[in-house]
């Protein structure tokens, strides 16, 4: 098939299978549509009516098991073959960084849209990545380069090493990610226990109990660099993202550029990231993560060899479409001039983008998951606003998958404008049926320290105390329910109020006065500040 897009460009592939679900599957399907590529969605039973399934040209069932579903490599390969696909895009999470899956694709004659199986294997092993970075002269967070022994007999040796690294430190899983298999250790006495529990947790989560030690860099920010690489070994850094607003190692908010970072620090980060990428033979898209201290000193953490959840902020700042670029690179094309130009400009960005993750979690109860039925879903729009959502009204949010519902992204010429745009957009969000993380983001968008920029990784743990905020909202909710019950006559509550009876009607600029408010679609909307 030699179809071309409306613009007459030849698509990099004829058919691509998207081995993922939710917002990222839809985002990749959209990119395929734009490039004239036939897209194949896959789904487990509970996702059968999801937006990503309807958006694709073809959809193939992975069967009833929600647990196995998107992790069932053999079944995905079969689906790709059945749909006559020539490539597989893994998205993020699930199988995206599993070298075995990349190899299975290649063996089946399918192009894996991502780095090679060898690169994935090298980067998935955090210790190998640390050694590779050090070998090319990039500063790594001080710590061990080999797995730490966890047996009691070897404890004296490891404590001596820990003393040299310095306290407090972190025990981390060599195969890890997402905070699992990670423990903070403040003193010698805690080390043996922390090593044992971290190793057990890592074994359970990743099937590999290797752990290592790393100094805990306090007062640091998480800054990461977006990379793209081609088959000839050229790698370009497309700018950084600051992801310091985290809760227990889970990112909540990401922005680009990192506020207050000097051009010099930025260039140093880009150089380091490109060096590490070169050392591991990176192709396609990846992200190098660093800790940045207030002094500007930076330490390499690890490379994520896939498209990141937060790739959109880089797209908004650079104007590129990273999924388009991924697909072209996977098809063997060299880095385009457009990408190289964006790399040239990356150290001096001329706009600011912020992303907030809208999840089915209750920020008032330690971000506990809140699965349920989305009875209403109206997302914001307007200038500088992008919403990547994997849900819609009527979606049942289950407990089987990640609680991410959507990403709200805003872009503006500068950070203050981006922040007020974020506030405006969050106010337009209208979600019913379950609690989301929106109150956290509304609080953050108005927070003085966040507005100044440069908050550190401990920000959420020390600053987020939602009880007063929530209680104020609850009092208003009670008053609103009381008024609504008084106005709407059916249902048993007395109806003795009418609009303007005593000249004390509320000042409502929208004009929907008392009497009509309750009847309008059963929905009353109070004025925005």
């Amino acid at each position: 098939m030699t179809a071309t897009t409306a613009a007459g460009v030849r698509p990099p592939f004829a058919t691509v299978l998207v081995a993922n679900r939710g917002e990222i599957a839809l985002r990749i399907v959209r990119a395929c549509r734009e490039l004239g590529i036939r897209s194949v969605a896959v789904y487990t039973d509970i996702d059968a009516s999801s937006p990503h399934v309807r958006a694709a040209d073809v959809a193939i069932s992975l069967g009833p098991s929600a647990e196995r579903g998107y992790l069932d490599a053999a079944r995905l390969i079969d689906a790709a073959r059945a749909a006559d696909a020539d490539a597989v895009h893994p998205g993020y999470g699930f199988l995206s960084e599993r070298p075995e899956f990349a190899r299975l694709c290649t063996d089946a004659g399918l192009t894996f849209v991502g780095p090679s199986a060898e690169t994935l294997a090298g980067l998935g092993e955090k210790l190998a990545a640390r050694r590779a970075a050090r070998a090319v002269g990039v500063a790594i967070v001080p710590g061990t380069l080999e797995a730490a022994p966890v047996s009691p007999e070897q404890m004296a040796g490891i404590i001596e090493i820990a003393d040299r690294i310095g306290w407090p430190l972190l025990v981390k899983a060599a195969a890890g990610g997402g905070g699992r298999g990670m423990r903070r250790v403040d003193s010698k006495a805690e080390l043996p226990g922390a090593l044992a529990t971290a190793a057990a947790e890592a074994e359970g989560a990743f099937g590999d109990g290797s752990v290592y030690l790393e100094r805990l860099v306090e007062g640091a920010r998480h800054v990461e660099v977006q990379l793209l690489g081609d088959a000839a070994g050229n790698v370009v850094a497309l700018g950084e993202r600051d992801c310091s607003v985290q809760r227990r190692h889970q990112k909540l908010v990401e922005e680009a550029p990192a506020p207050g970072l000097s051009t010099d620090v930025r260039r140093t980060l880009f150089d380091s990231a490109v060096k590490v990428a070169g050392a591991v033979g990176l192709q396609n898209a990846a992200t190098a993560e660093f800790l940045v201290e207030p002094s500007g000193a930076s330490w390499f953490l690890e490379v994520n060899a896939r498209l990141q959840v937060e790739h959109g902020v880089t797209e908004l700042v650079t104007g590129l479409d990273l999924v388009h670029e991924q697909l072209r690179l996977a098809a063997g094309e060299p880095l385009s001039q457009r990408v190289r130009d964006a790399g040239e400009r990356a150290a001096e960005p001329d706009r600011h983008a912020i992303e907030v993750r809208i999840s089915a979690e209750d920020p008032g109860r330690g971000f506990a998951p809140t699965p349920g039925l989305l009875t209403r879903w109206v997302s914001p729009a307007g200038p500088g606003v992008r919403v990547d959502a994997g849900v819609e009204e009527g979606t049942r949010v289950g407990a089987d998958y990640d609680p991410l519902l959507a990403k709200l992204l805003v872009v503006a010429p500068d950070r203050p404008t981006a922040l007020s745009r974020l506030s405006r957009a969050l106010g337009e969000f209208d979600v019913g049926g379950l609690q989301t993380t929106i109150p956290f983001h509304r609080w953050l968008a108005k927070h003085e320290a966040f507005a100044r920029g440069g908050v550190t990784l401990d920000f959420v743990a020390t600053e987020w105390q939602p009880s007063d905020d929530r209680e104020r909202a609850r009092q208003q909710a009670l008053r609103m329910a009381a008024r609504a019950a008084m106005q709407a006559p059916d249902g048993g509550a007395p109806s003795i109020l009418s609009p303007g009876t005593d000249g004390r009607s509320p000042p409502e600029p929208s004009g929907d006065r008392w009497g009509s408010a309750g009847r309008q679609d059963g929905v009353a909307r109070w004025p925005t500040r």
Partner: protein, 170 residues
């Protein structure tokens, strides 16, 4: 006639007209004056009626979903006089023995990962009872008050639905 008098009383701005409550916190009774005071209510908010539950209609109860500043609440509303009468009846008829029993229910559907307690064991308020895994995260269910574990109704590995009974604290 009685209704007319009550309505006039209510309009004096001091007699509670309506009682509203969320499930976990203290209810609130509001007078006409309080209902009309909009001064604090400036945050973006939406309100929608929710489906009634069994017995609501007979009891004159209505339910609402209110979202204020992103915080979501399910609020029930009822006539304040009726609510007070019911409180009085309940207080009179409460049987000894049952008042101290609390059944802990699942707040989220998921899988039981661990049990920290067994029947007969004493617990403090806030003590972890069991772990529920949902969306790849483990959440600890804690005891709502001090007491003795009466019954444990689930085992590790069980899948539980929203509202399912987990543990009885006596």
């Amino acid at each position: 006639m009685a209704d007319a008098v009550t309505a006039a009383d209510a309009m004096d701005g001091m007699t509670p007209l309506i009682r509203v409550a969320t499930e976990t916190d203290e209810p609130l009774e509001l007078t006409m004056d309080e209902l009309l005071a909009l001064s604090d209510d400036r945050d973006p908010a939406t309100i929608r009626p929710l489906d009634l539950r069994a017995g609501d209609r007979a009891a004159g109860i209505r339910r609402w979903e209110v979202v204020v500043d992103g915080w979501r609440f399910e609020v029930m509303s009822e006539d304040a006089r009726r609510a007070r009468l019911r409180d009085r009846a309940r207080k009179g008829g409460a049987s000894a023995g049952s008042h101290s029993r609390v059944t802990v229910r699942a707040q989220i559907p998921g899988r039981i990962t661990r049990l920290f307690v067994q029947a007969g064991e004493g617990v403090e308020q806030g003590a972890p009872l069991l772990g529920v895994e949902a969306m790849k995260m483990e959440n600890e269910v804690r005891s709502p008050r001090a007491g003795t574990i009466g019954r444990v109704l689930v085992s590790a590995g069980d899948r539980v639905e929203l509202g399912q009974e987990l543990v009885v604290v006596e």
